[in-house]
Amino acid sequence: MSAVPVVEQDLERVIAGRPAVRPAGLDDDALLALHRSLVRLRVYDERSVVYHSQGRIGTYAIFRGHEAIQAGAVHALEERDWIFPSYRESAIGLLRGLPASTILQWWRGHPSGWWNPEEVNVASICVPIATHVPHAAGLAWGLALKESDAVAVAIFGDGATSEGAFHEGANLAAVFRAPLVLLCNNNQWAISTPLRDQTAAERLSDKAVGYGMPAIRVDGNDVLAVHDAVRRGVEHARAGEGPTFVEAVTYRSFPHATADDPSIYVDRERVEAERGRDCVAAYETYLRDLGVLDDEDVQTVREEALAELRAGIQAAEDEAPGDPELVFAHAYADPPPDLARDLEELRRVHER
């Protein structure tokens, strides 16, 4: 393999070197597990784009190229640690045992797209930008108050750092030394808005200084670098030292979502160049260099992932449509009485 080309200066990297060097603390199984996660995410994403074009799921936020950030983070965590995803990490629950059908149903607008965060320690997908950062801070702080040693990771974009919610959540986490990793997927775009219109800071990791927390800035296409950065943040957090900001620098070389047409605003050459730096391919080359992975393995992992997705879409499509009762369910544990009357009314009108 050739070294992952320089996306930006000043980034930590692991897999860029030749000959490939095995990172400390990761044995073959761990390296291959990471690979499997990358591929599962990649295949989920690829298939979702196809399913969307077939009209089988709704609008979908593509994460191709960002699998290294997601898999790198999850593998740096223990099962008891919490993940707070944005819409960009909609499928991260796969790596925690959520069935593909659940996540597909989320994108299909089916009520069974709901999951129980507590079962997998993955919070609900956050649609509004950055508002989950205070949740993650509160959860992490709340766990520490209960003397648990679990930690949390919140994942958000470069654009998210402009929101007040990011600021307030990050500041609060630092003040309360919440065991939290703030993982910023700096893909350099917020829909059509480039990073330079988002901030005048040179690096997003510079923001950490103002919160009095350490920052690590890594190549977001390098799954091992992300893994290592998040691992260090997690150790810091578990040791009671508070939050860390991790900036994972990558590039959004695909549309923001299926509805988006980036041809209006992006530089095609840059996109082409960035596509050549694919994080999954880079890692596969690295593992091959290490002698840990061969073509057959790649094939098997991919086929398993494809089977998982095929089964997932099948399960999703086989599921009965949601009962209208669900419109009224779950908002309250102890609902105001008019909701029951409304449901009755609705049934009467539509079932006559």
Binding site: W82, P111, W114, W115, N116, P117, E118, E119, A123, S124, V127, P128, T131, V133, P134, H135, A136, A137, G138, L139, A140, W141, G142, L143, L145, K146, S148, G164, A165, H167, E168, G169, N171, L172, V175, A329, H330, A331, Y332, A333, D334, P336, P337, D338
Partner: protein, 331 residues
């Protein structure tokens, strides 16, 4: 709710709030209090006084100045098994938290398919008449009661301030409590000692009457009672203290108006889409044959709450309530 033999103490409304917090924090170790200046200072109105001393600084927490941040954190605290009671320092300073309220507090349980609970409480002093600079006088209940997934209560008496707060803390859902700061230290009354819970969704008949129903909540209940006194020679006026806006005791409302046939609703908030409009709408829907006159609303106006030398012209006065009642009676 309370049996006849319950011991009571005479307390001011804000003391009753403080009492509820002491009792509930002692009862349930998962209850924690957070907000600006609630710890060291015990709150700018001293509603949280003594909590830090009694329960330690991990259960009564001074937050950074960031309403959206600490309400969002409270969502996370719920996920970690806590029951946070969040103080907003003043009505208008709760507005930065509306985004968290609308997008998350009211929706997170739904998002989990009902599998996780968000038993958080937001309490705040609200309302005008306190001779304070702007933005210390708002009555923002509409923003909250229009938001699905949350409940809203407003006490008018010390006993209810304690009982509704206790109910809110024990409720499995997010509850927003508006405390009428105007009467924090002037509303005094017997408050049951120890545990005292006033079920959400039950109105209180503050005064019985047969000719017209005055509907109010919070600080406006006392205004209505004074109006009823002033009108005593002319009419028998019932005063219904809603206590809880969501869930709403629509049965009590409809029963009262069906009996009296007339209704005036009084609120401090601006008129358009205030909760008084909701009450009128319910009557227009369910009591149209019972109404012997229009349903009038006596409200704040659709303008910024004024500089305080003019605030008595803005707040519903006894005179305005009396006038409205007379107009309905004369209809």
């Amino acid at each position: 709710m309370s049996a006849t033999a319950v011991a009571t103490r005479e307390l001011m409304l804000v003391e009753a709030v403080n009492d509820a917090l002491h009792v509930e924090l002692a009862r349930d170790p998962s209850v924690i209090v957070l907000g600006e200046d609630v710890g060291r200072l015990g709150g700018v109105f001293r509603a949280t006084a003594g909590l830090r001393e009694a329960f330690g600084e991990k259960r009564c927490i001074d937050t950074p100045l960031s309403e959206a941040g600490f309400l969002g954190a409270a969502v996370g605290l719920c996920m970690a098994g806590w029951r946070p009671v969040v103080e907003m320092q003043y009505d208008a300073f709760s507005y930065p938290c509306l985004d968290q309220l609308i997008t998350h507090v009211g929706r997170y349980r739904w998002r989990t398919g009902g599998r996780m609970g968000f038993p958080l409480v937001i309490r705040m002093p609200y309302g005008g008449g306190v001779r304070a600079p702007e933005l210390h006088d708002d009555s923002p209940e509409t923003y909250y009661v229009h938001t699905p997934g949350v409940k809203v209560a407003v006490p008018a008496t010390p006993a209810d301030a304690k009982g509704l707060l206790a109910a809110a803390i024990r409720d499995p859902d997010p509850v927003v409590l508006f405390e009428p700061k105007l009467v924090y230290r002037t509303a005094r009354g017997a408050v049951p000692e120890g545990e005292h819970v006033v079920e959400l969704g039950k109105a209180r008949r503050a005064r019985e009457g047969s000719d017209l129903t005055l509907v109010a909540w919070g600080a406006m209940v006392a205004v209505c009672e004074r109006a009823a006194d002033d009108l005593a020679a002319e009419a028998s006026v019932e005063v219904l203290d809603l206590r809880s806006l969501k869930p709403l005791d629509d049965e009590a409302l409809l029963a009262s108006v069906r009996r009296t046939g007339r209704c005036v609703v009084v609120q401090e908030a601006p008129r358009t889409c205030g909760f008084a409009s909701e009450i009128s709408a319910l009557l227009a829907e369910h009591a149209i044959l019972d109404l012997q006159g229009p349903v009038l609303r006596v409200t704040g106006y659709d303008v910024p709450y004024p500089y305080w030398q003019l605030e008595d012209w803005y707040m519903p006065s006894v005179e305005r309530v009396v006038d409205a009642v007379r107009r309905v009676l004369a209809f």
